[in-house]
């Protein structure tokens, strides 16, 4: 124990005291900090970039929206394959050695991307017999058939998105009218899916999909998990984030929009994502959090850490802090 708790020779202060007004000091400090905050506010204000909407996304990046929606229906989007807490898939399930906390905690916010992002919102559209028939046909089909239809529709869209990204000539099966935001997919063997996806695009562009994704049996809603994750599967948020230097490899974890300080206190947390093996690891998040958990514990325990708790005595910065005290000591 003496190794952990070296002998502490600090004795209670027996020296002199000077008058001090703590309450007055606190009041002055509050005033100074408030003034500083007001000054910074007047000089720099604060960022407030408007949120993206699904309507905006489906208008500005119609092919990206259509591709994302097709992958949600097909069950191959990032969220569809994520795993807990959204579903029982495994693509984004992380672990460290024998630690599998993500799986242990289970599915707490269930999302069935085909149902929640496509089928249910379409069922809210009234007075459209053709759509109702298409949805009924889709729902009545066996799972294998649903998969074939949605894959037949998603495949040309994925090829289109890849061609656009690689600046190649996109396949002719997909045509996009940027002025109207209309996406036409020539997909044979897609069954009722083209009719459903055209209706979903129209619903999104009308602004009706946001409401459809947050609605449930409750009237009041405060949970935006479904629409946010749907948008995160698409490209609009990432496109805006890259312009604002908010991506992970841009140390975006601690940044915010504009030239504002963001959360600089997360610098150490962000640092670990920039170095190997975390940088390229599929388990980067749990690795970084475990490292930070360990470092945080050590930070709390500094008084009891050998060597670390002796450094202040060895490096005499304290002589600067208490220079008046030491100056006033009698010469020996």
């Amino acid at each position: 124990m003496s190794f952990l708790r070296p002998k502490d020779e600090t004795k209670p202060w027996k020296g002199s005291y000077a008058p001090y007004d703590l309450v007055k000091e606190l009041c002055i400090a509050v005033g100074v900090i408030a003034l500083l905050a007001v000054l910074l506010t007047v000089l720099f204000s604060s960022p407030d970039d408007k949120p993206s909407t699904i309507a905006q996304w489906s208008h500005e990046l119609p092919a990206d929206f259509a591709t994302t929606a097709a992958l949600e229906l097909n069950g191959t989007s990032d969220i569809a394959e994520y795993g807990p807490p959204y579903n029982h898939s495994s693509a984004s399930v992380q672990h460290f050695l024998l630690l599998h906390p993500q799986r242990w905690l289970g599915v707490s916010h269930p999302i069935n991307t085909a149902e929640d992002y496509v089928v249910k919102p379409l069922e809210t559209i009234p007075n459209d017999p053709a759509l109702r028939s298409a949805v009924a046909e889709y729902k009545a089909a066996p799972e294998k058939q649903k998969k074939e239809w949605s894959e037949a529709y998603a495949k040309p869209l994925v090829e289109y998105s890849e061609a656009v990204e690689e600046k190649k000539t996109p396949p002719s099966a997909v045509s996009v009218d940027q002025s109207t935001g209309a996406v036409t997919v020539k997909a044979s063997g897609a069954g009722p899916v083209p009719a459903m996806m055209t209706a979903l695009q129209s619903l999104a562009q009308s602004g009706g999909l946001e409401g459809g994704l947050v609605s449930s049996s409750q009237f009041f809603q405060t949970d935006y998990t479904k629409p946010l994750l749907f948008m995160a599967d698409g490209g609009l948020l990432g496109e805006r984030a890259e312009q604002q230097h908010l991506l992970g490899d841009q140390w975006g974890l601690m940044n915010e929009t504009g030239s504002y300080p963001g959360q600089p206190w997360l610098w150490l947390y962000a640092l670990w994502y920039q170095v190997e093996p975390m940088k390229s690891s599929p388990n980067a998040d749990i690795q970084v959090l475990l490292i930070m958990g360990l470092l945080s514990t050590l930070f709390i325990c500094i008084p009891f850490l050998p060597i670390i708790n002796r450094i202040p005595r060895k490096i005499p910065i304290y002589k600067l802090i208490w220079k008046e005290h030491y100056r006033d000591l009698p010469d020996v």
């Binding site: 600090t10 004795k11 209670p12 202060w13 027996k14 020296g15 002199s16 005291y17 000077a18 008058p19 007004d21 703590l22 309450v23 606190l26 509050v30 500083l36 905050a37 910074l40 506010t41 204000s45 604060s46 407030d48 970039d49 408007k50 949120p51 807990p84 984004s92 992380q94 993500q102 905690l105 289970g106 707490s108 405060t222 949970d223 998990t225 948008m231 995160a232 948020l237 992970g248 974890l253 915010e256 504002y260 959360q263 206190w265 388990n283 959090l289 475990l290 709390i300 500094i302 008084p303 708790n309 202040p312 490096i315 304290y318 802090i321 208490w322 008046e324 005290h325 000591l329 009698p330």
Partner: protein
């Protein structure tokens, strides 16, 4: 003719109230809780950063309370709301800045010495709890920053299982954490930290060597310097320390 007023019976000593009061006064008598004097070594600008951290927290809570009174959408719609949101944001930035300087200062003073380990521990935990308090503020903003930060940070929370009860994409839950649960935790920790500082006093300087310390002690002994007399002490002489 009415009966003569009687004095209320003395509270029995087994009363929980009396026990709590006696323990409290014993641990922190008023002159120690709010001293009007400081040890003379408390004479550096570094000491200002402790009280500046508390001052920043007060400004954060004040500006945040105004924002809470008007609701989460107000600051997007009015100039006055945006003004108070800016004050809130900048006071958070100042809070972290002064707190980090305070922590570094306390590290180089080895301020855990003399039985002050709990003072350091509560301060360090306060810093760590303040981080999610700020994060929940960022994801409660209802703007693009909130969309991006919540959808990106969710993976870290999910990877350790925290996402199942701390869902960054659930605005209602994050807002509750931000304006109630985490501020309560921060204020409780800061209060405990300050009370421990008041109880233990500010850590004295390292003794450069024993002879100097002996000389200092002799120079400040009763009659030679102004050391606090043993009993009964005056408030200005019994302080065990100053700012945190």
């Amino acid at each position: 003719m009415s009966a003569a007023p009687t004095t209320p019976p003395r509270t029995p000593s087994k009363s929980w109230t009396v026990k709590v009061r006696e323990k409290g006064v014993e641990a922190l008598p008023p002159e120690r809780l709010l001293p009007d004097g400081q040890p003379t070594y408390v004479a550096s600008w570094i000491y200002v950063f402790g009280v500046a951290s508390i001052a920043s927290l007060i400004v954060i809570i004040g500006s945040g309370s105004i924002l809470a009174l008007k609701g989460p959408a107000w600051w997007h719609e009015t100039g006055v709301g945006h003004f108070f949101n800016s004050i809130h944001m900048w006071s958070v930035e100042l809070f972290f800045f002064v707190m980090v300087v305070h922590l570094w200062g306390k590290y180089w003073m080895a301020s855990w010495r003399g039985g002050r380990g709990r003072v350091w521990v509560t301060g360090a935990i306060t810093f760590l709890v303040a981080v999610p308090a700020a994060l929940t503020g960022y994801v409660s903003q209802q703007n693009f920053d909130a969309q991006w930060i919540s959808t990106q940070a969710k993976d870290a929370m999910n990877s350790v299982g925290v996402g199942s009860f701390f869902n960054l994409t659930n605005f209602g839950q994050m807002y509750s954490y931000h304006i109630l649960l985490l501020p309560i935790a921060v204020v409780a920790l800061v209060s405990l930290h300050v009370l421990l500082v008041r109880r233990n006093g500010v850590v004295p300087p390292f003794e450069i060597d024993s002879r100097k310390a002996a000389l200092a002690s002799a120079a400040t002994s009763p009659g030679a310097g102004g050391a606090p007399p043993p009993s009964p002490p005056s408030p200005s002489q019994t302080s065990t320390g100053g700012q945190s």
